[in-house]
Every structure is written in structure tokens, then in C-alpha cells.
Amino acid sequence: MTYILKPKLHHPSLPKNELGFTRRDYEGRVSTLCAGCGHDSISAAIIQSAWELGIEPHRLAKMSGIGCSSKTPDYFLGQSHGFNSVHGRMPSVLTGANLANRDLIYLGVSGDGDSASIGLGQFAHSIRRGVNMSYIVENNGVYGLTKGQFSATSDKGSKSKKGIENTESGIDLVALALQLGATYVGRSFSGDKDQLVPLIKGALSHHGPAFIDVISPCVAFNNHAGSTKSFDYVREHNEAVNRLDVILGRTPITADYRPGEVREVTQHDGSTLRLRKLHTDYDATDKIGAANYLQERHAEGEIVTGLLYVDPEATDLHDRLGTTAKPLNQLGTSDLTPGADALAKINASLR
């Protein structure tokens, strides 16, 4: 753990994004996680993504459940409102927040215990409901904060630090998210920042339920030989299907790839997802193909990563509910209260 306070003054030569903010402006409090914890790398990737996208920090709300992973929203985007809620229930809190103000960007951070064990129901229902959010699971296969018990994403046969073998089948949140109707699904590895940052950027600019499963080794309890969520294991078995670049509407697109190698997908907000294929057969807009491919590779013991599925025509919960464009939390008395005359009519109908 580190208790060093970060210097407040910015180095004048730090690069600035289009809003004039440096990366520092997207940082949070100093992390209290174990040195080397995968979760800290994900926080760094979130900071990088928000900075590169030029998000106004106060226009983003960060929500989490409970766990080491769920503590991290305190460690990035210090100028954003954050809500460290209750264990396994981030999705419902995020859903409510989103209903109240559809204009903010919602980033949900959770753990594998938080989302696959206690919170599996809320994970599933928030996705099938179509909440516009970026939902990141920092997946280490254990409950870090309660000291290393197996979580529901732990693979069958994976060994605990004390050598005990997990006998229950693991839940693949990516496969579930696909089935449940997530319109942007990715998987990555906390140790692969080049892959992770564009995936997060794509999620943050996606309109609809975006889910990213990030394998994030727990150095304290699940980074030993025999674990399928250790740094070494993931590096060896990681199989990326594509490389993603997120190109904002205003950046000119330059074609420097051979035809067939690149697939471009334009999203609702005008951003373009440029996918450089690593597997010629893999089509990230084919949901059934993606599900089959994942199953096949999983059977081979591979961890498939990349942007696994995207639906550029995605809609969200507000579209489905027909909510007014003005955020509900900004409606006033005259928008909301029908008044005495309307009440007199109701009274008359009840006599």
C-alpha cells in the first residue's frame, strides 16, 4: 500500500486534451490497493480513456458495488460524482441514476464477486433492460476484499492459493452479456493497456449497455501457479480477435490498412470503431457467430479478448420508455404537478 500524496501542481509540459485538461485532471485519490493489483491498471486505463475522449469530468458519474474493485472509483476522476453503493447492487443504483438524468455518462465498476455471485441478477437485468452504461467487471476469480475465497467466475479446476481446487463451473460474464442483449461486449486483460484503453473508449461512447470483462489478477490471493486468473496464465492463453481504435467524429479517417483487414463501425454518437482483424473469420457485428466462437475457443482453454460484439444500432432504456429529452431531475413543479383543475375533474370522476 502507498500513502504518498500526489503533488497538486501540474508539470507545464504535460500534454493537454482538447478541453485543456491533462491526465492529472482525471486522476483521483491515491489508491489503497495492494501494489501490483490488476485493478490499479484498469483505473489507469479509465483515466487515459476519459482524457483521450476529452470527457468533462463532471459529466460522468461513477458507480460501484463493494469489493477491492468497487473501491477504485475513488482512485480516478476525482471531479466526478461517485457512489460506492452496496455489494452486488451497483446495476440498480446506476439504472436509477441514469433514469434521473439521461445526459450524464455512467460508468459502473464492479468485481466478479460483486457481479457474478451476489449481483448476478442485477448484472443480468440491467443489461437486458438496456441501460446506457459502461459496465466494467474487474475479474480476478476471487473475493479480494474478503481475502481470497473463490468467486463465481473462478474456472472449474482452478486452484486456490492454499491448493484447493474449485469444483464448481465458472460463469462467463461475456457469454451471459451477449445472450442478455448487451450491445457492446468486450474482454481484455489489465496487463494489456493498448487493448484495454480503446475498448473502454468505445464503451464510453456507446449508446446502450456496454459490458467489458477485464481479467485483473489479484496479486495477494490469485496469482499463483494453478490459477487460471494469474498474470502468467492469462498472458499465455490470451487470444485477441481484433485490435480496436476509437476515432472521434472530428478526426479524419485515414485508410492505411489493406481491404478486408479493417472493419469500421460508426456508433450513435458519431464515433467510429475501427477494428483491425486478427482473425479473418471473426465478425464483431455477428452476435451468433461471436457466441459460437467464444464457446469453441473456451473449450480449447483460450481466453478470447478484444471487441467481441457491437451493435451500432443499439437503443437504450430511455428510448424504450419514451422518456422526455430533458433530464427528469430538471423538471419543475409546472412540468410535474397537474394542478387543482385537473384534480377537480378527478374528484368528479370518483363520485
Binding site: H81, L99, G339, R351
Partner: protein, 630 residues
């Protein structure tokens, strides 16, 4: 006929057949039907026609947790004097369900009437000698008039209303008018229903004499409305500015969410078809309250409606709302316990559950409406209170208020009234350099300022968590910070006691040292019992509490009396417990009067229970005062 007599005289001479009951605008009719047989609309027509004649009615459905086949009852109390609680006893029974016949017949007061379908002869053992039996061959009449089985069944219901209309003098013109209103959209059904009504009425007119229970037009209803509490609470939520509703179906609260949906469709749609509301039927009650807390955190007025089992599931979030200081409104329509069956009966048994819901030191304001009228006012007020107090506010209905139609004064609204969002710091205030400490008590009332996410580019953001924080919302695990925060939360709770609706006192005609405290749906039966007790020489000062935390007035009232009867519809004397816990009241000062069989409390029960208690008290005092003199 003075109605005090109607509940105050409970015994009849046993020997000869009692005289037939005779009363004008003061009697109880009870229908027994089979669930799903279409009787509900006929029974509703019966009750509404009496109201249209200007005579007050209290009507109650008693129904099972299923859709078809089980017994249901509908009790209509006619009270020219305006008593809207249950009286107890049945003067005219209409048992149309063979399954419950024996019990239904047993309930009839001596001298009362039994109206039945006489198509099939019944053995004499199925009747009683001390009641008056009226047979109408309903099935035979309808089988002759209709070919289709479903029509035979449905029109049989209207047919018995027709026969009854002759027997107790319901104005047929009123029925005709009601049918016209009900079927305005399907005018073909008007003559069909009217014909069925007349089938029954004509038969009765030809073969039967009117009975001793008679209706007479009156103006006692005034301009009152007839409405169920769930609908009223939903309307209160609309007027209170609720925009987010998240819920999970559970009897008896479901119709609240459904009514909210209906009212939003009527009043919250913009000309472009978009909605100024968002309603989500969630996967369970945990998600429902999670959505409410998330929306409340982000500045939208949000609520959920549920019943006891739902509150149990919501406990963790209710605690989070308390500690993280997030507004939320929960309508708890109370019922009898877990599983199915009793849960479609009424109780006031969630008081303790709601008042202290969750882990850690928590307590929550409860509003206690007495009727649908207050469901509307408190339903709206709950949103102002929860925003002002930044915490969960419960509105505690019960099945009797929530799912029964009550006759109440018309709803009122002051168009000058503005939504009170409480202490919300705006971008302008932040820009002007106003001090912002999320958990700092700047005004001495324990209530801090909050900001909505997205308010200002670089001021006013904070991190929300349960407990471990200091006055500036910084992370802190220090004991002093925790305690400091908890003391402030307690101060906020004391502030709540000054903001919630205060109690209403009803003074006895004579000076007395005896008091009674009651709340919620007990109110009308209690008022009737108090009148009857007064007539019987028992003078009692009564106080209706309308909210928790209790204001000082409640404790002053208790201390001004030697003995307080605390009346409630639960087994464990939960209101009494709250008075003892929060007010330090001595147990011996508070006598429990409890009714918890799942049926709404009756005036007769209260008259008996309180009367007996006071007689016993008189007796012991005579004994002790004699002893003192010796």
C-alpha cells in the same frame, strides 16, 4: 335510530323468534361469492347506488390470494350517521357460495335476513329459526332468460342486485344512471344489464315484501368521493412530483404502481408524446429500491411501493439511504405476514420493521395515513419530506386503506404550492463560493447540503459511501468522525419530528384521566366506538398519531393521562413499543388493545375491548379505594 345503539347493544333475548331487524340507512349487508364469478362489479354497483342516494357507505372486499374459485366476500356497511369503519355483525346476508354457506348463515344477527338463490330446495337444517329467510330463484330466472352459460352467470349477479333493490328500496333510476356511466364506451351493454336488473326487481316486486332494512335518500354523502387508498397515494405521488417509480408486484401494493402508471399517462405526457416519468418493473424489491436510491442520489423524486416481504428484502438499501443521506419514498401497503393466504388480509404489522429497517443504528420517518384522503396528501408530502430530510420516508398504508374504496372528502390542491427540493447547492451558489461540506451541519438542524452530479465543472463533486467519511465527505475510519456523523443524523431525526404531520386530538365531553392512542385504518371504527363508549359513560381523550418520529405533543398527551389504551392491528403492540423506546414511556402506562385476525378492526370489537378494560379498571379502583379507607 341512534347508531350508538347499533353497536352498543350486543345481546338479544334468546327465547322467542326475535322481531325482524328494522333500521333506516343503518345496517350491514354481506355478500359471499366465488372469486372470478364476476360478482365484483355487481356488488360495486350495489354500494355505489346507495352512495348516489346520498347515504354513506363503507364497502370492503375480502378476497383470497388466487384468481378463480375461492370464496370472496363483500361487506357493505350503510351508515346514515357516516360511520365508515366496520361495525361488526351482519344484518342481511347474501350467501351465493355454497362452500361458505354455513359460516355465512351463522354470522347473521338474530332477527336479521338471509337472501338466497332458492332454485334448489335446501333442507331446513341449512337455515336458522331466529332469522328471516328470503328466497329468489336466481338461477332458474337467469337460465330461462339467457342461453350462454357465461351470460347466465354474469347476469345472475345483476339480477340479485335487482331483487335486493326492491327489498331495501334502492332507486332504480340511480342504477340506470350508473349503468349508463359505466358502459358509456359500450352502450350496447346498458339495456342488457338493465334488463337483468329488472328481471330480479320484477320477480321480487311480484312475490316479496320490502324488508325492515330500508334506504332513504339523504344528503349525508355531500360532495365526498369514493376512492381506494392505493389510487389516492399514486395520485399523491404524481402531485408530489415523483418521476421515477421502480417496483415489483406484490399484493396489496400492486394497484398503487398501476394507478401511478395510469395517472402518468393522463397527466405526464408531453405534446410530442414523450414522458415526464420513468416506470420500471424490476426483477425484485432489492433492485426496485436500488433504482429509487440511484435516482434519488441523482436528484429525481423516486419511489417504490411494496408490502412487508418487500421491505424485508430492501433492508440493506434502506440503511444505505439513511447513512448516505439519499431521499427515497416507500409506500408500504401492509398485509398479514409471509407466503400467500393471510397476505391478502389487512394488518398494521410492519411498524417496527419500517421504523428501524436495516443494519446499524438507523431509524426512519413513517407517515400514517388514516384514509385515502390522507394517502393523497401524505403521498405528496412524503416527497418534500424525503428531499428535505435526505432520507427514506415511509408511507404506511394497509390493505384496508389501500385496496378498499372509502368515502372521503374530495382531494384538494393549492396551485401556489411549489416542490421543495430541500438543501440542494446549485452551480450559482458554488460559483459564488458558498461553503460546501456534504456532511456538514451548516444550519443547526442536522441537515447538510448536497449537490446533484453534473452540477459544476470543478466544484461540489463528492464521493458517496455508507459510513466511513468525515464532514467533507472525505474517507475516514476515525471513531470521532463516525460518532460526529451519527450525532448529526440523530439531530436530523429530531428535526424530522418537527416536520412530519402532527397528531390530532379528540377531547372527551367530560374531563378524564383516560386516554387512547390509535392510527391509520383503525380511525373510523375508533371514532364510532368512542361515541358509543361515551354514551355508555366511558369518557376517553383520544389522539390519532399521524407520523413517526413522534412530536412532543404525543408524549405530553401520554403524561397528562393515568392510563393510555394503545389501539393497533398487530399482535406485538408495535406502536406501543415505539412509544416506549423513543419516549421512555413506562410499560404500565400503556394498555394494549390489539386486533390482528386479518379482518379490519370493528367498532363493536373496540367498544367491547376498551369497555371491558375500563370496567375492570373501575372495579380495581373501587377495591383499592375501599382498601385505602380501611
Amino acid at each position: 335510530m341512534p347508531d350508538t345503539v347499533s353497536i352498543g347493544t350486543l345481546t338479544q333475548a334468546a327465547s322467542a323468534k326475535p322481531a325482524p331487524l328494522a333500521a333506516v340507512n343503518d345496517f350491514v349487508v354481506k355478500f359471499a361469492n366465488v372469486n372470478g364469478s364476476g360478482s365484483a362489479s355487481a356488488n360495486g354497483l350495489f354500494a355505489k347506488s346507495i352512495i348516489r342516494m346520498g347515504v354513506p357507505v363503507a364497502a370492503r372486499n375480502i378476497f383470497p390470494s388466487n384468481i378463480q374459485g375461492l370464496p370472496t366476500w363483500y361487506e357493505v356497511r350503510v351508515s346514515g350517521a357516516g360511520h365508515l369503519g366496520r361495525r361488526g355483525g351482519v344484518d342481511l346476508a347474501v350467501p351465493l357460495n355454497p362452500q361458505t354457506w354455513d359460516d355465512d348463515v351463522k354470522e347473521i344477527s338474530p332477527g336479521g335476513y338471509l337472501f338466497y338463490d332458492s332454485t334448489k330446495p335446501l333442507p331446513a337444517s341449512k337455515f336458522r329459526d331466529d332469522i328471516y329467510v328470503i328466497g329468489v330463484p336466481l338461477t332458474a330466472i337467469c337460465n330461462e332468460a339467457y342461453k350462454i352459460p357465461r351470460e347466465r352467470q354474469l347476469f345472475k349477479n345483476i339480477c340479485y342486485v335487482g331483487a335486493l333493490s326492491w327489498l331495501i328500496n334502492i332507486d332504480p333510476a340511480v342504477i340506470e344512471q350508473l349503468l349508463k356511466e359505466e358502459f358509456a364506451a359500450k352502450p350496447k351493454l346498458i339495456p342488457a344489464n338493465l334488463a337483468a336488473f329488472n328481471l330480479g326487481r320484477d320477480y321480487a316486486q311480484k312475490h316479496l315484501k320490502p324488508i325492515g332494512l330500508q334506504l332513504q335518500k339523504s344528503d349525508a354523502v355531500g360532495n365526498r368521493i369514493f376512492v381506494e387508498g392505493n389510487a389516492a397515494a399514486a395520485l399523491g405521488a404524481v402531485y408530489g412530483g415523483a418521476t421515477v417509480c421502480a417496483w415489483y408486484p406484490i399484493t396489496p401494493s400492486t394497484s398503487l404502481a398501476e394507478a401511478f402508471t395510469g395517472y402518468c399517462e393522463d397527466f405526464r405526457m408531453n405534446p410530442d408524446g414523450s414522458n415526464n416519468f420513468a416506470i420500471v418493473q424490476c426483477e425484485d424489491e432489492i433492485a426496485s429500491i436500488g433504482v429509487v436510491v440511484g435516482a434519488g442520489w441523482n436528484g429525481a423524486r423516486s419511489f417504490t411501493c411494496t408490502s412487508g416481504p418487500g421491505i424485508s428484502l430492501m433492508n440493506e438499501f434502506i440503511g444505505l439511504s439513511y447513512f448516505a443521506e439519499i431521499p427515497a419514498v416507500i409506500f408500504d401497503v401492509q398485509r398479514g405476514g409471509p407466503s400467500t393466504g393471510m397476505p391478502t388480509r389487512t394488518q398494521q404489522s410492519d411498524l417496527l420493521l419500517a421504523a428501524y429497517a436495516s443494519h446499524g443504528d438507523t431509524k426512519h420517518p413513517l407517515l400514517l395515513p388514516a384514509d385515502p384522503g390522507e394517502c393523497f396528501t401524505m403521498g405528496a408530502q412524503a416527497f418534500d419530506l424525503s428531499d428535505r430530510l435526505q432520507t427514506t420516508v415511509f408511507v404506511m398504508l394497509d390493505l384496508d386503506i389501500g385496496m378498499q374504496e372509502w368515502l372521503v372528502e374530495p382531494f384538494q390542491w393549492d396551485d401556489k404550492r411549489q416542490i421543495d427540493r430541500g438543501k440542494v447547492m446549485t452551480a450559482e451558489m458554488l460559483e459564488a463560493g458558498t461553503f460546501f461540506g456534504r456532511y456538514t451541519d451548516v444550519d443547526g438542524d442536522g441537515i447538510p447540503f448536497r449537490t446533484y452530479p453534473g452540477t459544476h465543472p470543478d466544484k461540489g463533486a463528492y464521493f458517496t459511501r455508507g459510513t466511513s467519511r468525515n464532514r467533507m465527505a472525505g474517507y475516514s475510519e476515525k471513531g470521532v468522525d463516525y460518532q460526529d456523523n451519527m450525532e448529526r443524523l440523530l439531530k436530523k431525526f429530531h428535526t424530522a419530528a418537527t416536520l412530519v404531520p402532527g397528531p390530532i386530538t379528540r377531547e372527551a365531553k367530560k374531563k378524564t384521566r383516560i386516554g387512547a392512542i390509535y392510527f391509520g385504518s383503525t380511525t373510523p371504527a375508533m371514532h364510532e366506538a368512542l361515541e358509543a363508549l361515551e354514551a355508555a359513560g366511558h369518557h376517553i381523550n383520544a389522539m390519532r398519531v399521524r407520523a413517526f418520529p413522534f412530536s412532543q405533543d404525543v408524549y405530553d398527551f401520554i403524561h397528562a393521562h393515568d392510563e393510555i389504551c394503545v389501539v393497533e392491528q398487530n399482535r406485538d403492540a408495535q406502536l406501543r413499543s415505539l412509544l416506549m423506546i423513543e419516549g421512555g414511556i413506562d410499560a404500565s402506562h400503556l394498555t394494549s388493545i390489539l386486533h390482528y385476525d386479518g379482518t379490519p378492526i370493528t367498532a363493536r370489537f373496540l367498544f367491547d375491548a376498551i369497555g371491558k378494560r375500563l370496567e375492570a379498571r373501575k372495579a380495581t379502583r373501587q377495591v383499592t379505594s375501599k382498601a385505602d379507607k380501611q
